[in-house]
Symmetry: C2
């Protein structure tokens, strides 16, 4: 049933506030250090309690609609041959993070690894042999302290850009992301410190491919529809996911996601909406369960006459010998996601398996270059034809 | 022998001018169309002459120091069963490009494929079955007309961002790329139309990884050293390569490249400097043979005490059974590049094989986060310690 645009994409009341506060992170680290020091002084065996990783300590919170971490803990002792190395590494990284945050500096995960790799004097032992040793320690710290690694000034790799009538303050600079030509503003690895000075848009449209984002910019869609374009350039980076979360919860912006109509596109949507199992402990800060999906859907193929520009799914269908594999396997997995347990998504996913095809955003160019900006998106968004 | 910075990175006199002119492209397309039409009218068999692709029609121009296309042509006839389909496709894409350029619109390669795919009335034949059919036609057109596909408004995928004290005009917008917070300006797929309004930097530093570019931005390197940072985020996109070319030839900016010390990093340098064999016909507009290389070099490992943070090369060395493979094979190939036929590069590449290690940019974090910005780069650049 069509709703008026005002209802379909109404802004919500802000439910979170700008929360970046380096002092809080420092206080948590100091608390951690004090406890260890206390244990040593009292001749006890110092330890950390770390929430357990892995699928066994993860669940879907039906009420808040996010993947969350359970309350299982593992204890890491200093005086335990199996734990000592990791205990040492945890302390090293904690001290490093404290230095970073105090000095207002950021480091990449790779830099953090290199900066903390050294040979322990008097031995041939290295503190870290590989980044595969330091990354999990950083994840442990995120879980232990309940802060994002970005809040600890450890930055993830960056990808994605934005374009639209919002004014951002980043340090001493203040700029409108719709005044940067065709380029747009490159989203940095860390967005914690950004201030949204003005938000003159009605919603944010998250777009999978750069080519489609650029199409919409060229068609002046952001201005005509009062939309902010967020180009993820494939899977959304942590920076982009956090930006989406903040725009939704701090500024009340409705989030509408636009991906290819295929298992990869739906997975991108899934991650923006619910977080990933790997990073379950971050869902509350990275996920945006209220995001909705505009397309591409399987229904679009008939409705807009796109059958000629579909592509075949790869792999073996579930009803064939050896199946499901490839794209089909992925679709079957997505059918089991808790957040896809609704009529609309089950229908789409089943249709995809039955039709055996995928449909790309850019296939809309088959109608005309303007089609997506003048008809497809405005029509679906006006009418609130969005998947949950 | 150390040179003063003024000599090492002196700006050169501009040797090219802003050259984007859609009317030229339209004139060439019209000329093409007129010839075909004329042939048809005179009852002759219409054809295109297309410069031959592939390694046999490519050579290294020693004087101009770029990979160039030879003068071999192949003729594509309309009335030749083996040619007809491609002839039809060439005309379709030419007409499409003419429409794009006339209307001032851009399309991605993917959109161009979808837009031109249709079933020929009265048959079951599609004009294009796959993007692998349309891409080569676009390359043919580039070669035939001697224009970049970007000049035909067909945009390549975008990647990379810039940060530094230059003012760019893009359409109605004018902005300084050092006033955009930590983010920087995202480089669009097409940079033909950009105007450089002010260039208040002494040189451009092209950086392989986003993490290193962000490090330099955080350390205020662009301001202190009057440098423009260009982050390629891996292999440089066509947009970034064209931007580098334009900044060098139109603005006289020295180009200094900073990659990991490994075969992939040196390949990135190679492509920026000389173009790639695949795209030989574009070298004159995309390559910057006068670019120089600051690091990482194999000498850096000893000089800055980084042995502990090197990584082993992958594959089998050339002197072992079954070798060279992997990284070693790549290095041996690079040793044969015409532009690496000099003492300095042969020495580096031989050292890499001998030492069997690679060294990343971010390994410099092992000294300190500031080290790269305060010591490593300024020292090497001041002294002109750059590889050719």
């Amino acid at each position: 049933m069509p709703k008026s645009r005002a209802i379909a994409i109404k802004k919500s009341r802000p439910r979170e506030r700008f929360s970046y506060d380096p002092r809080k992170v420092l206080a948590k680290l100091e608390e951690l250090g004090r406890e260890i020091l206390e244990s040593v002084r009292q001749g006890r065996n110092p330890y950390f309690d770390i929430p357990t990783r892995g699928i066994n300590n993860v669940y879907f919170d039906e009420k808040r609609k996010v993947i969350r971490m359970g309350d299982k803990l593992s204890r890491r002792y200093f005086l335990n041959v199996a734990h000592t190395r990791k205990f040492m590494q945890t302390l090293l990284i904690s001290a490093y993070v404290k230095r970073l945050v105090s000095e207002g500096k950021h480091a990449s995960l790779r830099e953090a690894y290199y900066a903390n790799k050294h040979t322990i004097p008097g031995t041939k032992e290295n503190t870290f042999e590989d980044q595969r040793e330091s990354d999990p320690i950083i994840e442990d710290l995120e879980r232990m302290l309940g802060v994002l690694r970005e809040e600890m000034h450890l930055t993830a790799d960056r990808r994605g850009y934005i374009y639209g009538d919002i004014v951002i303050r980043d340090g001493e600079d203040e700029f409108n992301t719709s005044k940067l030509g065709m380029g747009g503003w490159a989203v940095p690895g860390t967005v914690e410190h950004l201030h949204f000075v003005e938000v003159n848009v009605d919603y944010a449209l998250v777009v999978e491919t750069a080519a489609m984002a650029d199409r919409l910019i060229e068609e002046k869609f952001p201005k005509k529809e009062k939309a902010l374009i967020i180009a993820t350039q494939g899977q959304a980076s942590r920076g982009v996911r956090r930006l989406i979360h903040r725009l939704h919860y701090e500024e009340g912006l409705p989030i509408i996601v636009f991906t290819d109509g295929d298992p990869y596109g739906w997975y991108i949507y899934s991650t923006i909406k619910q977080g990933s199992i790997n990073l379950a402990y971050l869902s509350e800060k990275l996920a945006t369960p209220e995001a909705r999906f505009v397309g591409m859907t399987m229904d679009d193929i008939e409705r807009y006459g796109l059958r000629n520009v579909t592509e075949k799914l790869k792999g073996v269908p579930p009803n064939k010998k050896g199946g499901p594999t490839g794209d089909y396997k992925r679709i079957m997995e997505e059918m089991n996601y808790p957040w896809f347990q609704n009529r609309e998504w089950q229908r789409q996913l089943k249709m995809a398996v039955k039709m055996g095809v995928r449909i790309e955003q850019q296939a809309l160019a088959n109608k005309s270059l303007e089609f997506v900006a003048r008809k497809y998106l405005p029509e679906k968004i006006e009418r609130g034809e969005l998947l949950p």
